[in-house]
């Protein structure tokens, strides 16, 4: 379609002046008198005519055209009668008037019609000259008027000439047999063309040039030459359609079979009508026909897109053909008429975009008259409001999305074309206030700015509309928040739609970022809508009122803050999604948007959300515990449903945290600390609820004995399972990233401190929950304690006697520990044992204490100890208990001591003292040197000397002697206790005495026999020897040898005395308890003496 418009528009030839273009109407403005009439005068006359033209005149003209239809395509489709009747209907002409006007039309002279021929080019011409070339030119004429010939210029030395020359041939009425003849000749003049062309250089001015060319042409046609025909073509006018045609014709020559070449011509009909008049007639006609058709066909709005009935079509085509309107002129008229009709009856916009496509080029290159250009802009002015209206009402519900997209695309095409034409600013106000009251741009109203405004206004109108619709006089904050959420959602879906359906077209066609423009508008509005309310609501949030985490049921206050906080968070998420959309849509500009700081509005709300998150978690945990059937989730694991549920609940907290996606790291760090602390609380809460859930299970009414149940074990395992996940959970909160960012933002030292705090909080949380588990284990163990206590006591009372009750108790302990071992995981079981040891220790301590007070005989304690051994032996102890339980070991030791006979107990004292004395160094009391040996059953002791003895006498010296005791005393009654001589007044006595003691083999073999050396100061009277000190030597330290005592090494023994601390020895305490026991009493009395007090 787009062809250079010059060749489209100029119907006669290449040099049409504006005046010629105006003067084509023969009747009123004869071409005979155009010479000498001023341009202005002509224009005036045209205007007068145009102004005075009536419907009747036009109708008459149309009838006249029907009478003189041209083109091969007439009457095939619609007969003349049908056309008359159509015209009469369309023009609404009464019959009598029609008849009258028809008569007038019939009387009118036949139209002065023309056939326009453009000789374009020829190809493959037969060469006629000796040089193998030709100098072709074309002669054309109508077969009815052969003498009136028209020639083209001569193209020298070519077989493929291009002429592109225009001719207008007047045609007579009878076109039925008329032929257009075209002949191609080889020019061969008497005076050669070359010679004539040679004159070109003498010719002066353009006029002269034209004359010369004419001469050459005349030379070619008047026969003063020996031109040779190359070939000819004959085109019957009846084959030419009213709208014209362009064709290649082959050239024939008489007697020649071969083709002589091909010739391309364009043929159209035209008339000599004045163009302006013809255009105006056409516009009127078009309006009448279109209105008529719209009326009769009842075509819906936005529907009609250029198709007429055949009658209407023919009327219009005939008018175009008979008035010689060019396609551009036609398009312009259509554009004008359609635009104006479009105002009252919406036409399909495709119509306009298509017309504009045809018009843009002619308008751009200036091939359109000023008058037409003005008409174009008038029409555009009428058309544009409807276009912008569509943009503004893009959200209209009455149209399907698909139809709307189509419309919008057409609008965009229209706008694009119009914008590309650069609307004149000076002589036409394309966007007057009256038509565009909604436009905000005052100065710079161009298609793009108004489009931008239309988009914004459309969004604005729509937003106002939904705001109005959603504007319930809502008092409550929750209502307000929900309202905002709803609006944001609507806005978001509008944006979504913009992106999905329209944005692409806006960008492609008018290079306009539709979705982005919308976003820019919406974000500002949403900020205005939400910010003040959000800040206000956050400021006045009431904290959740529940008295403690441990007792949710005591929750006080209205649930309002909960709903409020929840709605607030929903709004936050809605805004977050909205903001995310913005980042995607406007990555470059997002930072300039107010919405980017939406988080800050909510700052006061985050703490509330955290509280709500915990509160909800606690509620759910409570529910989960309630619903727990207390059976293993599956056979591989040792926990039940509530543990799994609780983890899910924690996971929800994490999801909340992730959703929050809070941007400020300092806050994030603090919130994470809070969440960890809260989760810890949840764990503790869970532990409490879990133990409450199993509390009472396993209690038996009859004998007040508690049975460990699988449920109890599950409860413990559950809590532990939850505890185990604490740390991984907290790590999952993204704390590493946050700490890292703090390091970057602040300093590594500060980051480290934050890290430290979080680590502490986590460790604290884990410990707290672990304590909770132990607490629960204690509960269980303490429930078992009475039975175990009874077992111990009964065992102690009954000794070796068989006892049903004892067996039952034994079985009880065995069963319960069996359950614990089976049901608890390993860690918890060993924890249980720890607790059991601790409990047993306490229980034993009590039993011992109370029974010592009751002065029970040693046998009682011995039996108690045996029972204890029996009981602990049945524990499913994975490790050696001794490692774990120092406390119990000590208690058991006390028990052992209490179970000993007094003599044994006394020896125990000696052994303990010996052990204590071993540690003594540099004794103040002095030391003794001895040598000892065994040979068979003979014990040889050489007491050599003593040194640095503590002076006991007033003169600062001693009168010392050494007595030797073999212990346990009871085993050595047959042996007299040897004694050295007394060495007076010396701190360094040299005894040098040897004692040989014959022992029995049994005595020799005694495991823990001791020698006790007592160093004493001899009292003058011998009554009250003073004790200086003593030293032990165990039998097992004495070498068994046949060597003489003289060669044995000296042994230096530090002297010591029992001290107050020694009095705290368990064995001595046990002795002290045996108050009725003479032996014990006597021993203790002597021991006190030995202490030197």
């Amino acid at each position: 379609m787009i062809r250079p418009c010059v060749s489209e528009c100029n119907l006669t030839n290449g040099h049409v002046t504006p005046i010629q273009a105006v003067l084509r109407r023969k009747k009123s403005l004869s071409k005979l008198n155009f010479r000498g009439i001023k341009k202005e005068e002509l224009q005036r006359r045209t205007s007068m005519y145009l102004a005075s033209m009536t419907i009747d005149e036009l109708y008459c003209e149309i009838l006249f055209e029907i009478l003189h239809n041209v083109g091969c395509d007439i009457s095939y489709e619609v007969g003349q009668t049908a056309l008359f009747s159509y015209a009469q209907d369309a023009f609404k002409i009464p019959n009598d008037k029609h008849r009258y006007l028809l008569e007038l039309a019939e009387k009118k002279e036949a139209p002065d019609r023309m056939i326009n021929v453009e000789v374009i080019e020829a190809k493959d011409l037969r060469p006629k000259d000796s040089n193998g070339m030709s100098d072709p030119f074309v002669t054309l004429y109508l077969s009815s008027n052969m003498s009136h010939r028209y020639n083209t210029s001569v193209k020298t030395m070519t077989l493929n000439p291009v002429w592109e020359e225009h001719f207008a041939l007047p045609i007579t009425e009878n076109t039925a047999d008329e032929n257009l003849c075209l002949e191609v000749w080889d020019f061969d003049p008497a005076e050669s063309v070359k010679e004539k062309l040679g004159k070109i250089f003498d010719v002066k001015g353009v006029k002269g040039m034209r004359k010369l060319v004419k001469e050459i042409a005349v030379t070619a046609t008047t026969g003063q030459h020996e031109n040779e025909l190359i070939g000819r073509a004959k085109i019957p006018l009846s084959t030419i359609p009213a709208s014209g045609m362009t064709m290649w014709y082959s050239l024939d020559k008489k007697n020649k079979i071969n083709r002589q070449g091909v010739l391309k011509v364009r043929v159209t009909f035209s008339s000599e009508k004045n163009n302006q008049v013809a255009e105006q007639e056409y516009r009127h006609l078009l309006r009448i026909v279109l209105l008529h058709e719209l009326e009769t066909s009842k075509v819906a709005a936005n529907w009609w897109c250029g198709t007429f009935t055949p009658q209407g079509e023919q009327l219009l085509t005939q008018h175009i053909a008979q008035s010689g309107l060019t396609p551009a002129e036609v398009a312009l008229c259509q554009y004008y008429v359609y635009s104006s009709i479009h105002q009252s009856h919406a036409l399909n916009l495709t119509l306009f975009s298509n017309l504009l496509e045809k018009l843009v080029k002619p308008l751009q290159v200036g091939g359109v008259s000023d008058e037409d250009t003005k008409l174009f802009w008038d029409a555009t002015k009428k058309l544009l409001p409807s276009c912008f209206s569509i943009i503004r009402k893009i959200r209209r519900k009455s149209v399907t999305e698909k139809a709307m997209v189509k419309q919008v695309v057409e609008v965009l095409k229209i706008l694009n074309h119009i914008h590309s034409l650069e609307p004149p600013r000076s002589n036409i106000d394309l966007f007057p206030d009256t038509m565009y009251p909604w436009v905000t741009y005052q100065d710079d109203r161009t298609v793009p700015t108004v489009l931008n405004d239309a988009v914004a206004q459309g969004a604005n109108d729509w937003l106002n509309h939904i705001l109005e619709n959603n504007n319930k006089p809502e008092e409550s904050n929750v209502g307000k928040l929900q309202n905002m959420i709803q609006i944001i959602q609507l806005v978001r879906s509008d944006l979504q739609k913009a992106i999905e359906f329209y944005d692409k077209f806006f960008q492609e066609i008018v290079n306009f970022q539709f979705a982005k423009a919308l976003y820019v508008f919406y974000q500002a509005r949403i900020c205005i809508l939400c910010e003040p309310d959000v800040i206000e609501i956050c400021k006045n949030l009431r904290s959740l009122q529940y008295s403690s985490y441990n007792d949710l049921t005591k929750q006080e206050g209205s649930p309002d803050p909960l709903a409020e906080g929840t709605s607030l968070f929903e709004l936050y998420l809605a805004l977050q999604r909205f903001a995310t959309l913005g980042i995607g849509l406007c990555p470059a500009d997002y930072d300039t948007f107010h919405i980017k700081n939406f988080h800050q509005w909510f700052h006061g709300g985050v703490a509330q959300w955290l509280d709500i998150a915990v509160y909800k978690a606690l509620q759910r945990i409570e529910k989960a515990v309630e619903l727990d059937q207390l059976v293993h989730v599956d056979s591989n694991v040792k926990y039940s449903s509530s543990a799994v549920d609780t983890l899910t609940i924690f996971y929800q907290v994490k999801v909340f945290w992730e959703q929050l996606n809070w941007p400020d790291v300092e806050s994030c760090y603090t919130f994470i600390a809070k969440i960890i602390d809260d989760i810890c609380r949840c764990c503790v809460f869970y532990a409490d609820k879990m133990s409450a859930r199993v509390e009472g299970m396993g209690d038996t009414q009859d004998d007040k004995k508690f049975e460990v149940t699988a449920e109890w074990c599950l409860a413990i395992n559950n809590i532990d399972y939850v505890r185990e996940t604490l740390e991984p959970f907290t790590r999952d909160l993204g704390m590493d990233g946050v700490i890292h960012k703090i390091g970057e933002m602040k300093s590594p030292v500060e980051a480290q401190r934050c890290q430290h705090t979080l680590d502490n909080v986590i460790a604290n949380a884990i410990d707290t929950v672990r304590n909770k588990i132990i607490e629960l284990l204690e509960t269980v163990v303490n429930k078992m304690a009475p039975a175990m206590k009874r077992l111990l006591i009964e065992g102690a009372e009954l000794g070796d006697q068989d006892s049903n009750s004892c067996d039952r108790l034994m079985m009880y302990v065995d069963n319960n520990l069996g359950t614990l071992h089976r049901e608890l995981n390993e860690e918890n079981f060993s924890r249980t044992l720890e607790v059991v040891w601790e409990m047993l220790n306490g229980t034993l301590g009590e039993i011992i204490q109370s029974n010592i007070e009751k002065r029970r005989p040693p046998a009682f304690f011995a039996n108690l100890r045996k029972t204890l051994k029996l009981m602990t032996g049945s524990f499913k102890n994975p490790q050696n208990c001794d490692n774990d339980c120092d406390e119990l070991r000590r208690t058991e030791q006390i028990l052992r001591l209490n179970g000993l006979e007094t003599a044994e107990l006394i020896h125990e004292v000696h052994l303990e003292l010996a052990k204590e004395f071993e540690k003594v160094k540099d004794s103040q009391l002095g030391e003794i040197s001895i040598k000892t040996k065994f040979e068979e059953n003979t014990l040889t002791i050489e007491v050599m000397n003593a040194r640095n003895l503590l002076p006991m006498d007033s003169n600062g010296t001693c009168d010392a002697f050494v007595r030797i005791h073999l212990l346990p005393e009871a085993k050595f009654t047959n042996i007299e206790k040897p004694k050295t001589k007394t060495h007076n007044r010396t701190q360094f006595p040299l005894f040098d005495e040897t004692f040989v003691l014959k022992l029995t083999p049994e005595q020799r073999e005694l495991e823990d026999a001791l020698i006790l050396f007592s160093v004493k100061d001899k009292d003058l009277l011998g009554y009250n020897n003073q004790y200086i000190g003593e030293a032990y030597l165990p039998f097992k330290d004495i070498e068994d040898t046949s060597q003489s005592i003289g060669v044995m090494p000296q042994i230096h023994l530090q002297l010591a005395r029992p001290t107050d601390k020694s009095m705290c020895l368990d064995s001595i305490k046990a002795l002290e308890y045996r108050q009725g026991d003479k032996q014990a009493k006597e021993f203790l009395r002597k021991l006190k003496q030995r202490m030197g007090t």
Partner: protein, 221 residues
Amino acid sequence: MSAVRHNTRSPNKNTLLKVVILGDGGVGKSCLMNRFVSNQFDEHSFHTIGVEFLNKDVEIDSETYTLQIWDTAGQERFKTLRTPFYRGSDICMLTYAVDDKISFKNLQLWKNEFLYYADIKENAQFPFIVIGNKSDVTSEEREVTQLEMEMWCNENSITSCIETSAKNASNVHEAFKMAVQHWLRLENRADRNEPHIDDTVDLTKKSTANRTSCCIATGDE
């Protein structure tokens, strides 16, 4: 924690006490905590970000208490970050610096903020302790006298107050101990008011002060 209040925690485990330190920025809260917990003083400490947390055991009457100490940031912009931590506290330390009158004046605000966010039952006695830090400053620099502090405490029915110096470690431990003792006093009073139900056989008369091996291992001073 309430578990402690109802006395179900056996005595061989530490009582956990949540302590919150409040006061204007710069009065020396963080320094107090660090002095108390690790016996260190850093002249050029950083501003606290949001909150800091440390654990520390104290022994009072041969009972061990584990203090969970939350140090807060005093600046207004951290308000929303610190207030969530008030809930569930057992002790609140209201801190000012003796060389900063304004920080003293602000104690009222801190007390109110705490009561609002800690979700404390109305007219319940709460163990507040007022701490006048930086007692080491010269008398010229001092802006708040001990008397003023005591008067303010009287007006606010706060019975515990003390001047401290994190810098030269004076009265820091005493302050924390005083806080715990105050808590104990209120706790015992509360215990007497609501009789506690003991549903397990009491085997705990013979007290063993040591913690089980699985508890938090924290070295005592």
